[in-house]
Symmetry: C2
Subunit: 604 residues, 2 copies
């Protein structure tokens, strides 16, 4: 295990100086918080992560969480984290006061969970799923359901889950068949199977509250006929006792990574005695679920960003300690009598580390920016401001989910490579990060689905207004950067790339105008890569500009090496990563249609 799993100084720099998140405390909803109280909170989360999360990270990988005799066996630390995490507000911090919450900004909560994810990405999900399930109840369920469930879930006494996927319906939620039959008693009888249920069962919660998508008999086909139900593992009775509710844990899924985070298979109503309680209106279940989805997708981006950061720290430490080979001398030869160099002296190793750093820190900025957009969109008193932030969040959210997941995997693979043969060995932690992060491009809508959302929905939403707002933000950053000679050329480059986006969209738009929607979206994933690099370059230019300002002003909040390193990493990003957009645009502008099924036996 490496000495360090995340760089708190960079986290605070991005939070405070780059995203200016303390401005949130000016909003009435967050008025009771301030920078100082948040610092104390972050310190306690870091301390908790140091003591309770990081030390058991490797051991949670083996033996993995597993199913045995009808039960899910998880690492005992799950119990500690549910209890202590609950007490610390790591489930309910963002909830309103009236729901036992602390009305903390999502931005601060995201920073706190980022620290935990970096320390041990197998554990925070137990808290996060419980939070998500409770939020659905808070936002959409009846007062009675809130009274019954919110407090016990918010404290971590009861666990919560999201039950969407079924064996025949993975990404395609319109095809779920779990049924809900109304009864005269007001509740519904639930029957069906759900798979891939994260944190779906274990011995360290006295009850589980499943938020289940199901179809009420006679409901319309497709997504418009899906309702949301609260389905407890044990029904709370009036006297406080718990009665089994015919929810059976049928098995689990053994996985490539995140092995300490259980993934279960649940069966509801096998004995015709599973009660579910409708949340909100019938047939609105998917709408409710998707109103919460932005938060979930920020959470996925956050987790991937955190793993990429932890992998970066581990490979950086190795590169600073391991000697191997020698640098070339000016004659182009090596002096074999000289001592070996640290591998961090080799250009190729530095390139890999800079790639890791740029992806990890850039992703963190992206995730925190998205969280702040959500906070303002939800709680600003200015309606126009709310709408502006909502639109910006909408267009960024598929990137927030995807960029850290996809590029984080590549960055973590570079981290493995920095260690050479040891990177492949179990005694070093890099291989675990490499396995763990692989799921993030699948969670909560695969990269393909996010890309369809970006190009098919978000780019065109409100007649392109979200995209226009984003372009305005990018232009503002270019203008800010252009005050500094060192940064001006990067601003100019980013401006060119912004025009390239328009050119690409005009080209693709031609397909849509001609009615060929399949062709319009067929290269959506390439568009996602293209757009993601552009967004990330914008964020890096913003970071570099803040760093440059601080250097010019002589700020001493951080060392000048720290600020310079952010500027250097921006330059890395522009040279090595933003450059990829040239080719991505070339692919997107290429009219050939090679991936659309047209009867040709392409895979013969």
């Amino acid at each position: 295990m490496a000495k360090k799993y995340c760089d708190i100084e960079t986290l605070k720099f991005i939070l405070n100086e780059v995203n200016n998140y303390t401005s949130l405390f000016e909003l009435e909803h967050f008025a009771d918080h301030d920078a100082e109280s948040m610092e104390t909170f972050f310190d306690s989360v870091k301390d908790f992560s140091d003591k309770e999360l990081y030390p058991c990270f490797a051991e949670m990988d083996s033996p993995p969480a597993h199913y045995k005799d009808g039960k899910i066996i998880v690492h005992s630390q799950v119990g500690k984290v549910m209890k202590q995490g609950g007490e610390m507000g790591l489930i309910n911090a963002t909830f309103p006061y009236e729901n036992n919450g602390l009305q903390m900004p999502l931005t601060a909560f995201t920073a706190a969970h980022y620290i935990m994810d970096a320390a041990n990405n197998h554990l925070p999900g137990y808290l996060g799923l419980t939070m998500g399930a409770t939020e659905l109840i808070i936002h959409f369920a009846s007062e009675e359901l809130k009274e019954t469930y919110v407090e016990k879930m918010g404290s971590g006494e009861w666990g919560g889950t999201m039950c969407l996927t079924e064996p025949q319906a993975g990404s395609s939620l319109s095809d779920i068949v779990t049924s809900a039959t109304p009864t005269d008693d007001g509740h519904y009888k639930i029957k069906g199977q759900k798979i891939f249920i994260s944190a779906g069962d274990h011995e360290y919660a006295s009850n589980f509250v499943h938020l289940v998508l199901a179809r009420i008999e006679g409901a319309p086909a497709g997504t418009k006929g899906i309702s949301l139900f609260v389905v407890p593992k044990k029904r709370p009775e009036a006297d406080g006792s718990l009665t089994p509710n015919d929810v059976i844990t049928a098995g689990d899924f053994q996985k490539l990574g995140q092995k300490g985070y259980c993934t279960t298979h649940l069966m509801f109503g096998e004995n015709d005695d599973c009660q579910g309680y409708l949340v909100g209106q019938p047939h609105k279940g998917l709408k409710y679920m998707f109103l919460m989805m932005n938060g979930a997708r920020i959470g996925v981006g956050r987790g991937a960003a955190a793993i990429a950061a932890a992998a970066y720290e581990a490979s950086l430490q190795y590169a600073n300690e391991r000697s191997q080979g020698r640098k070339l001398t000016n004659t182009g030869k090596k002096d074999v009598n000289a001592a070996q160099s640290l591998i961090i002296e080799h250009a190729d190793v530095r390139r890999m580390l800079l790639m890791q750093k740029s992806v990890a820190e850039g992703s963190l900025h992206l995730v925190l920016k998205a969280a702040k957009l959500a906070d303002v969109a939800n709680f600003s008193s200015d309606e126009k401001e709310r709408e502006r932030n909502r639109l910006l969040l909408e267009i960024l959210i598929p990137v927030v989910k995807t960029y850290p997941s996809e590029m984080g995997l590549q960055a973590t693979s570079n981290g493995v490579q920095v260690l050479g043969g040891y990177g492949f060995c179990s005694e070093y932690i890099l291989q675990q990060y490499f396995r763990d992060i692989r799921i993030f491009s699948i969670y909560e809508g695969t990269t393909g689905i996010q890309s369809l959302d970006l190009l098919g929905r978000k780019v065109v939403m409100n007649e392109g207004q979200a995209l226009q707002l984003l372009a305005g933000e990018v232009m503002q950053t270019i203008q800010d950067a252009s005050k500094y000679d060192e940064l001006k050329p990067y601003g100019a480059k980013l401006g060119e790339k912004l025009q390239l986006v328009q050119k690409v969209l005009t080209k693709l738009g031609g397909f849509a105008m001609a009615g060929d929607f399949e062709r319009y979206t067929s290269d959506a994933t390439i568009f996602m890569e293209f757009f993601g690099h552009l967004v990330m370059s914008w964020l890096w230019l913003e970071m570099a500009t803040v760093a440059k300002e601080s250097l010019v002003k002589g700020d001493t909040a951080h060392s000048s090496d720290f600020y310079e390193s952010k500027i250097h990493t921006m330059k890395y990003y522009f040279k090595y990563e933003l450059a990829k957009t040239t080719s991505q645009a070339e692919v997107l502008m290429d009219e050939a249609s090679l991936t659309i099924a047209n009867g040709k036996k392409v895979f013969a």
Copy 2:
């Protein structure tokens, strides 16, 4: 497990029709072989792989090969494969007749091992390492050593290994410290530790013969003072008995993948009784080792190509069986009442599968082309022809090692993604391929080292002659393709890219001319990516041209769908993969120097 692990039809197409490998039988050395006898050989290898390798592939992953009580415990199938593989010629097929070999072309041997690698990449290494060690003895050792070792190794009765790496010397072989002390009896006393020794010990060989790099006392520093020794685990005595030779198996390395292929830690001479026998001349050890290295690197590329192919087959089968979601109709909406589509109907899934197919099949072509170059370079009667093929092999070999490894990982990751959540689950095989293939960019010289070899050595060797020869080959393919209107534009595109290589090298050459060798090579890995895509585009155009010729001629060796699919995959490659070279050239031509250590604290 998927029904199919490799496409024999494509293998034979690439071998026979694209690489015209039967022309090798015109060389005297291979005169006893013919297409028919090779077909029989391939069929028997396929049958062997079907029955003995593929069925135990998943179970070799868990429990892994491991160290226990001084021994390495491997899956029992290792014994069967050593014995039966030895009998089938899967160790000694390429050896000369006088060394119990069959004088089979490396090209055919590579095809045979490719089938085995695709079936179970954990097993063929046991044969391959034994082959490599025996080859060193055949080429460079005394008659006495040959008589003692070659027969028993070639039959698989004794295992062979390569002992290069030491704890303090991974990629940097000049730093090895294992010592060899001459004795009056003619042998040397060996003392030292070796790590990462693949197939280094197990119960299914009655002896092991380690080929060990060590330094004779007083030898010059660096690579010029390293000698090669035969160091048996047990010394063969005159009466045929075996005496322990003070070689201790000290442990093993547990790994991310290839878990059935043991990786050991060996200690030589802990009790001062380890005898080693010098191979060839003193201080020439590294030279001998590197004369065999091209074969080893073809083997690595072959293994990665095979895993990428097996992963492709597994995800293709899933995509052809799994229904999920619906295609958009012409209105841009989905009809939720329609049956779900097979996921292979979705454009993004097809894009991922085409990427897998293009990388897997293109890599196979590259590997077989390299093997044929080696065969001609070694055995042509025409000296000029030998030199020409040698130079082509030299410039291609870093790509042969690297492209299948790096792009194969990306392709296999796409394979995981095709399965969605199931791709991450242990019950599906994709996650095992994903773990297994990760080592290939580290084996036998990491990607960084291959890239230095390509740009620092091979591009400039013989005053650029190897590169010129390669350019000539590419031009020939462009000319052949240009006979067909359908292919002509692709030839033109490839021609442009060839000019781009020259432009990039002229730019980089400026750094070398100015004496800045570190800057010349600092982006060598980006050059490798750039050059690799160009090479692969050439090979795909070659494949497409052969397919087109066959279609025009009305050949019925394969279906027209088969030929069309090769042309389609070429088009995919040009649109989606070759396009990347535009950006890679942009990076390479960018003068910024951001990865060279210059005292700045870039990682602050």
